[in-house]
């Protein structure tokens, strides 16, 4: 009986291990320390049985490949490594030969089928399978595809794929606001997808725009605007496409940031020195969030809005502090280095990212708020500044002078090779929209 029970237990453990193994193959844990690498192959897009889709089909495939190259945990399988080629008889089993992709090292296979052809305005069926079992990870039809919206459809598919793999597809749904310099004391606010597509200028003011911040509902971007004689809070309204410039007594407006409650926190003068104020929805002063004789700037909030990270010089040089807005208690976060600024809390509230001045320039560090463990995630050369978390709490955008001029780069909470966002240079202050905002 005892032996029988032991065998049952062993069988149960083995079956659980098998289930876990299958589950692990389906998911990528981007938050844990041992992030796994997934190899993905794309079968040739089809517009009929064994017939390759060479118009929009090829265009969509190209953009999907470009998009997926931004995911550090994904390797694209070289089509030349697939013996017998990537053209399948059909887009789903039993017409898909998973073996040849598996032999080429692919864990996942993407198929695309254009049942009505791939020119004009058509639908495409996108499917993702595991190559070792042929199990479907997900499948979806994207309707109304035309030449003009192929990149948008690629973003939608990649967001769905990312969500299926990691549980969060915010990266491909986000739009980054940033400032782009056009000379000394001249910069405006621009938008771009994290892949560098859909790049456009949204303000056209003289003077310098700094520190843009998206409202959580995606309607507004606020920013600091400085001209030759004044500071102002710039407000861009996506519904009217208009920009207003709001001035405050004391002529100080530094580092505005939206709270999850769709209000703005910003450093303004309290009559003696700058303090962090909360503004109401009409952008008027509501109350003080933090003040004191020292410098207090750069507020950043977690997704609950109960905790605010900020930079303060209360202990001498600038350091990162965290305020619990319900109790009012303030604790120091950055413990190393003499000059830590520009905090940004991950939306899930687990990490805070900031820049530290080192003898080689500024570098980006991430601190785990639970353990206090700090990790350097950028390594220059040049100066790395203004880090900002994506809504997925995984990707981090930052500005760097590593390539000569200033550009935006992407890394992750784990660090790793930074990838440049192609914006054309002069780019600073990347700030993620939280997904689903203005397209």
């Amino acid at each position: 009986m005892k032996r029988y029970l032991s065998m049952c237990t062993l069988a149960l453990v083995l079956s659980l291990l098998c289930v876990q193994d299958v589950w692990a193959a389906l998911r990528v844990d981007i938050y844990g320390p041992g992030q796994n690498i997934v190899s993905l192959a794309l079968a040739a897009p089809l517009r009929g049985r064994s017939t390759e889709a060479t118009d929009m089909g090829r265009a969509l495939q190209t953009v999907v490949e470009e998009n997926l190259s931004f995911l550090p945990f994904m390797r694209l399988t070289d089509p030349k490594a697939v013996l017998g080629g990537t053209v399948m008889e059909g887009a789903q089993p039993p017409d898909v030969d998973f073996k040849r992709f598996q032999l080429a090292g692919a864990d996942l296979l993407v198929t695309a089928n254009w049942p009505g052809g791939d020119s004009g305005t058509k639908s495409v069926e996108m499917r993702v399978f595991e190559t070792n079992s042929g199990t479907s990870l997900f499948g979806k039809e994207y309707a109304g595809v035309n030449k003009g919206n192929v990149p948008e459809v690629a973003d939608r598919f990649c967001a769905d794929l990312l969500e299926a793999l990691t549980g969060n597809g915010a990266f491909f749904r986000s739009t980054i606001a940033f400032t782009r310099s056009a000379g000394k004391m001249k910069a405006n606010v621009w938008l771009t997808k994290p892949t560098g597509r859909n790049l456009r200028q949204i303000t056209n003011l003289g003077g310098k725009a700094m520190s843009p911040s998206w409202s959580p509902d995606g309607r507004f971007i606020v920013f600091t605007h400085i001209d030759s004689s004044s500071h102002a809070l710039g407000v861009w309204d996506s519904s009217s496409r208009r920009v207003s410039r709001i001035r405050f007594p004391g002529n100080v407006v530094i580092g505005p940031s939206f709270t999850p409650g769709n209000k703005v926190a910003v450093a303004l003068s309290n009559g003696q020195y700058p303090a962090i104020f909360l503004l109401n929805r009409a952008f008027k002063k509501e109350r003080v969030l933090e003040e004191g004789n020292a410098i207090n700037v750069s507020p950043s909030f977690d997704s609950t809005g109960t905790r605010m990270a900020f930079t303060s010089s209360r202990l001498g040089g600038p350091q990162i502090f965290m305020k619990d807005l319900s109790s009012g208690s303030v604790v120091r976060v950055s413990m190393n280095g003499g000059y830590n600024t520009e905090p940004n809390i991950s939306p899930d509230g687990t990490l805070v990212v900031y820049s530290r001045m080192t003898e080689y320039g500024n570098r980006i560090f991430v601190q785990d708020l639970m353990t206090g463990e700090e990790r350097q995630v950028s390594f220059g050369p040049g100066s790395d500044e203004q880090p900002s978390f994506c809504a997925d709490s995984y990707f981090i955008a930052f500005a760097s002078s590593r390539g000569g001029g200033r550009n935006i780069y992407l890394t992750t909470r784990h660090g790793g090779d930074a990838k440049k966002v192609p914006t054309g240079g002069g780019a600073s202050f990347p700030r993620w929209g939280q997904g689903g905002e203005h397209k």
């Binding site: 600091t224 004689s229 530094i254 580092g255 020195y273 600038p318 520009e342 001045m357």
Partner: protein, 155 residues
């Protein structure tokens, strides 16, 4: 013949035009009407900069000397209004430097006020590290960029 007359007329008109331009150029840029003292004061207020240590906004003894002289001039000419512009070197980060520049500008404003200058004669702005006086890197450059500039905005 008609064409020749037209060309001659055009040449004459151009000659007159150049003559006028030259005459305008030789005239003084402005008539100071006895305001040379005011103009000299404006020049001195604008010229003298106040410098700071890295990441500090406390006035240094040399800076206080410069400001004391400015205070005398501003009290003597109460019609003068000055914008004090706080600046930083390139090393710090932008938002923090905007706050630091504000503190530097306000340090000068408070000192001038303590010396009897009417606060309504002054306003402040911080440009952080966005408006360096000298381009480049190294302490010799940074030293010149950690400063308050003084701009006369009304006289």
């Amino acid at each position: 013949m008609k064409r020749l007359t037209l060309i001659l007329a055009l040449v004459c008109a151009l000659a007159v035009g150049f003559g006028c331009a030259k005459k305008q150029q030789t005239e003084p840029a402005y008539d100071d009407g006895g305001n040379s003292e005011l103009n000299a004061a404006i020049q001195q207020i604008t010229d003298g900069r106040v410098y700071f240590a890295f990441d500090k906004f406390a006035l240094l003894p040399e800076g206080k000397e410069v400001l004391t002289h400015k205070a005398e001039l501003m009290k003597r000419f109460p019609s003068i209004r000055v914008r004090i512009e706080g600046n930083c070197d390139e090393r710090g980060t932008q938002e923090y430097n905007l706050a630091l520049g504000e503190r530097r500008a306000n340090a000068a404003l408070k000192f001038l006020t303590s010396l009897g200058v009417n606060p309504s004669q002054m306003e402040t702005i911080s440009f952080g590290k966005e408006n360096p006086a000298v381009q480049g890197s190294g302490e010799a450059v940074w030293q010149q960029n950690r400063r308050d500039d003084f701009r006369v905005i009304a006289q």
